[in-house]
């Protein structure tokens, strides 16, 4: 069974601080996706990383895929209250499976 462990589970920071969220597994994934989920809504895709070592930037968000494609991180620079939300990582399995394996999520609160 493939598992994705996210840490930390909860993070409360002040506006302007930087933060990193981690997503780790013992399994290799063909790709890893990061989603943001608001209360009462479905997850919304932020980014997909595919290649080991890949780094993608989305404004103040930086996503990295580990060289071995088993882990990923999300770094937010100068966090703003609008970044508050639940961040989920999800791995796409190798071998043709279509299912996504989700982490439990990191609940981020950015205080003004």
């Amino acid at each position: 069974t493939q598992l994705l462990e996210q840490s930390p589970q909860f993070l409360s920071i002040q506006e302007g601080e930087n933060l990193t969220v981690y997503c780790n597994s013992s399994s290799v994934f063909s790709s890893l996706q990061w989603y943001r989920q608001e209360p009462g809504e479905g997850p919304v895709l932020l980014v997909t990383v595919v290649t080991g070592g890949e780094v993608k930037k989305l404004k103040r968000l930086t996503f990295q895929f580990g060289d071995a494609r088993k882990d990923s991180s999300l770094h937010i620079t100068a966090a703003q209250p609008g970044d508050t939300g639940l961040y989920l990582c999800a791995g796409e399995s190798q071998g043709g499976s279509e299912k996504l394996v989700f982490g439990k999520g990191t609940k981020l609160t950015v205080n003004p």
Partner: protein
Amino acid sequence: EPEVTQTPSHQVTQMGQEVILRCVPISNHLYFYWYRQILGQKVEFLVSFYNNEISEKSEIFDDQFSVERPDGSNFTLKIRSTKLEDSAMYFCATRPGDREKLFFGSGTQLSVL
């Protein structure tokens, strides 16, 4: 941006009753999925559907569950005889092609009493 639409947003039912959850995929999308999220737990894969048949299902998706696209538009999830542990948020997700961006609906909150 186009949206995946799910109805109803909330469904309350008695244990043992049948429920049908409905999803309207984005119009040019060909791959359809159901996921569920029990309160406080991870989002879990249930089933994938392509070309009018199930392409993959999880252990959760037992004989009590079924999916279909009866009119070529709506994509439905039926739970034949609901159990208390079926209480969860059920998300429909669709995408235009294999491995392309996945779009999630807002979910149906199912409460089994």
